[in-house]
Amino acid sequence: MPDPILQTRGLNSHYGDFQALYDVELDVGEGEVLAIIGANGAGKTTLMRSITGLMTNGPGQIHYRGQDISRLRADEVAELGLAMVPEGRQLFPSLSVKENLMIGAQVGRTGPWDMQAVYDLFPILEERKDQASTSLSGGQQQMVAIGRALMANPDLILFDEISLGLAPIIIKDIYEALPGIIGEGMSAIIVEQDITKALSVSSRVYCLQEGRVSLESASDTVSREDISRAYFGIE
């Protein structure tokens, strides 16, 4: 595996007294696409929130390019080149499509992605740029959410539940656009309920079960049995 861009070591996350993650050890290689699967409540979104700095972590638990980022605020993590497409899109309703994209560029990182590059990727967004973000369809909103994350020119992009709540035809479109996005040398973590889709775009897969890593494997060699065991915990 190439040098890791992101490493978690003994990552524990809590919501008050409730522990959501237990000793999660995860590596993302430079330029690698990693898939994270797991049932509802397995801790996938918590893991994303921990990595991006939206949850407070213990010191030394998350390293990005060798730097300990576990105690940084989310905006400081974003400046280092880590962006997220959050679960359920979560666009800013008071902002137009164009303004949502502009907010993504707020971190001030330069690179291949600017407004025009996003419009080239998703031409429909240019037509809708002055509309309220909430007036778009779910699929178009997902395009805005992806574009917003790309505008930060991240080195590592996190997709949380990328296809949740979208029509199958839209999911197909989004997945067809993914290689064009990640192909620019970016690393990515894709959190996905659809296991087949997750395996098809990733090189390695982690499965979470009740807050613990229950499987770590190459995506092309993992067996169905291994996945069901890791996913449901059935021996």
Binding site: T52, G53, L54, R73, A74, D75, A78, E79, A83, M84, P86, Q90, F92, P93, S94, L95, E99, M102, I103, G104, Q106, V107, G108, R148, A152
Partner: protein, 287 residues
């Protein structure tokens, strides 16, 4: 003609109330903070104006160039040092803390400036007027109204045409996601409070030129500001101007009927509008 006069004077008075209210509206819109100390901060600004004018001999209107940045700095420090710690899911802590702040500011002003009523001496500006169609319009109220329109236009423009305004709206919509986009909400909230207290500084100076003030009058200014915000509809700055005008006109008409009814008439107009339109006249059209 006397009634027309009352309506016109009330409208102009509404400009001052809109300035009281704009800062409140802004802070509530961006961070859902109800600032009980707002009226006392207006009075604090008037006293800062007094200190600047007596120390330097400046005209009170010119003192704005010192008092506005000073209040903005106080606002930023207050937000970063104190108020950010009170913000969360619970609405009670900011209410209690700003109430406490209100008490502290009032007593601090009493210590430093005593309870004697003061005014800002603006010379000829205080009494100058022009006659328009038989109604004498004071230059100061006209100026106040013009400044209110300019300030609200400026705030509106900032909200919808600048990166700062975009950041305000984004943080107001979703704090976590805004943080993910590299916006530090604590800093953004600090800037919002700085802007709000900058407006408050203008309001305080104009108040101090118009009437005498002492450390205890903050509460009344807070109520007028609140009423203007709520009549206009929460989160709508132009609505706030309309709210201020309605309040001002109600007060001058009340005073016309009986001088003792001035404040009461304003509160009655507020209650009537609240009963008929509980969300105000123009709720949530814009930020």
């Amino acid at each position: 003609m006397e009634w027309l006069n009352a309506i016109v004077q009330g409208t102009l008075l509404g400009g001052l109330y809109a300035l009281f209210a704009a800062g409140l509206s802004l802070i509530f819109g961006v961070m859902r903070l109800v600032n009980i100390a707002h009226g006392d901060l207006i009075v604090l600004a008037a006293y800062l104006g007094l200190t600047v004018t007596t120390a330097t001999g400046m005209h009170p209107m010119a003192a704005v160039v010192i008092v506005v940045p000073a209040m903005a700095l106080i606002g930023y420090a207050l937000q970063r040092g104190l108020l950010n710690q009170t913000l969360g899911d619970d609405i009670l802590p900011p209410l209690l803390v700003t109430f406490g702040l209100s008490v502290i500011i009032q007593n601090g002003l009493l210590e430093v400036y005593t309870a004697d009523p003061q005014t800002l001496n603006a010379g000829a500006l205080e009494t100058a007027s022009v006659a328009v169609g038989g109604v004498a319009l004071g230059i100061l109220p006209l100026l106040t109204f013009g400044i209110a329109i300019a300030v609200i236009w400026g705030l509106q423009w900032t909200f919808y045409h600048t990166a700062l305004g975009r950041a305000f709206r984004a943080v107001s919509d979703n704090q976590d996601i805004a943080q993910l986009m590299g916006l530090n909400r604590r800093h953004i909230f600090g800037l919002a409070m700085a802007l709000a207290l900058g407006v408050t500084a203008i309001a305080g100076i104009l108040l101090g030129i118009r009437t005498s003030f002492d450390p205890s009058i903050g509460g009344g200014r807070l109520i007028f500001g609140f009423e203007a915000v709520i009549i206009g509809g929460l989160g709508n700055l132009w609505g706030t101007l309309v709210g201020g005008v309605i309040l001002g006109v109600a007060q001058t008409i009340g005073a016309k009927i009986d001088p003792g009814w001035q404040v009461l008439a304003g509160h009655i107009a507020f209650l009537v509008i609240l009963a008929v339109r509980p969300n105000g006249l123009f709720p949530r059209i814009s930020g």
